[in-house]
């Protein structure tokens, strides 16, 4: 297990390094005035789905402003995230209708089951939790999205089942892959 964890950290570090060198190249195309701050952050987020810590420093250096200021702006907007999204991003709706039907309890259930907070990603990069405002199907409130799939009429008791289903599917895929490999 420990080897797995070490390998995962090493992989994550290598990944971040690759991302940073990519950003270093692309950031040069942007001007140096302060007004470019948000467009730069948006470009990074669009390309890599999140803002690594090193990127914040890099942007600060490029615009010649303190990294703290970049950090302040990036934390102000919900659009920016600081963790890579999981393979199955979970979005819990907290729009008006879902709020009224206790969407916050659904969010809390996901948080407790996965042992992460909203905005975070599980260490194995399988799941991440986000809160969103209205998915556009208020009649089904409370609503949660796992990947692209909408799950309506959510209840706390359904949370575990949904996560279990993904886990079982993953195990099944792995079994099939192993069978294929041994068949060859």
């Amino acid at each position: 297990m420990e080897d797995d964890a070490a390998a995962a950290t090493a992989a994550a570090e290598a990944e971040e390094k690759a991302i940073l060198s990519d950003i270093e190249q692309k950031i040069k195309c942007f001007g140096k005035d302060r007004g470019r701050l948000i467009p730069i952050l948006q470009a990074i987020q669009e390309e890599h789905q999140y803002l690594p810590e090193g990127a914040i420093q890099m942007v600060g250096r490029h615009l010649e402003i303190p990294a703290s200021e970049v950090y302040g702006v990036a934390t102000f907007y919900n659009a920016f995230r600081f963790n890579p999204p999981g393979k199955h991003p979970i979005k819990v709706c907290l729009g008006t209708a879902c709020h009224v039907r206790a969407g916050d309890i659904i969010l809390e259930n996901f948080e407790r089951k996965l042992e992460i907070k909203e905005g975070q990603t599980t260490p194995d990069r399988e799941f991440s939790i986000e809160r969103v405002a209205c998915v556009g199907c208020c009649a089904l409130a409370p609503v949660a999205l796992i990947g692209e799939t909408v799950h309506g009429h959510m209840a706390p008791s359904k949370v575990e089942g949904l996560l279990m289903r993904i886990q079982i599917e993953k195990e099944k895929e792995e079994r099939e892959r192993k069978q294929d490999e041994s068949a060859q």
Binding site: P66, A67, S68, E69, Y71, F76
Partner: protein, 210 residues
């Protein structure tokens, strides 16, 4: 020169002067938390320095008003005090009352204003909301206490005015707003070690020198 009347007393001052400053200079106390002498434009974020100016429909924050000739100002009216008390109670609802353990005890502007407005430190009728973390140790030179901070922003502005840039910043937003810094920022470039204006200017005890 402009002649104005504040609470019935005639005062001579310069046209265009800042009304809050004029009042304070003439020993007329108006509660305020976010005013910095060196600010070019008023920050106007604490919402405590309200006064009534004749000709204005409702009370205005005095730090945003420039004096004009024959202005008539009242600082102690019922609507003004109601606004100030409400503002203060909101500030106190996110402020952990642990005055005994706080180094700012008895030199705390929040305590002074509460006493002045006769508002209890534990305001009734408002739900208290605190940040999850009591202590933030991320800055190499300062310890930050989010549940003491009133978010006046004076620490950030005083540092920026002195050094052109600041390692302190507001982070997050709304009820979650905190004063923060980014770890790994080039703090060595700034003389935080020997320059502690930010901790000195704090009206409460939210920034402590390590």
């Amino acid at each position: 020169m402009a002649k104005i009347v504040i609470d019935g007393a005639e005062i001579e001052t310069e046209e265009g002067a800042n009304l809050l400053k004029v009042c304070l200079d003439n020993d007329i106390y108006i509660p305020n938390l976010c005013r910095l002498e060196t600010d070019e434009t008023p920050h106007a974020s604490c919402r405590l320095c309200f006064v009534e100016v004749a000709g204005y429909k409702s009370p205005v924050p005095s730090c945003t008003v420039a004096v004009t000739d024959e202005m008539v100002v009242k600082t102690d009216t019922e609507p003004v005090r109601r606004l100030q008390k409400t503002g203060l109670r909101f500030l106190l609802s996110t402020h952990k009352i642990e005055c005994k353990d706080c180094p700012a005890n008895k030199q705390c502007e929040l305590q002074d204003i509460a006493k002045f407005l006769k508002v209890g430190l534990k305001p009734k009728g408002l739900k208290q909301r605190f940040h999850e973390t009591d202590v933030d140790e991320r800055h190499p030179c300062f310890t930050y206490y989010p549940n003491r901070c009133v978010l006046c922003g004076k620490c950030i502005r005083v540092c920026r005015q002195e050094h052109g840039q600041s390692t302190l910043t507001f982070a997050r937003r709304g009820i979650d707003t905190v004063v923060s810094c980014f770890q790994g920022d080039d703090i060595e470039k700034l003389p935080c070690e020997d320059y502690r204006a930010c901790a000195a200017i704090c009206p409460v005890g939210a920034l402590e020198v390590k």
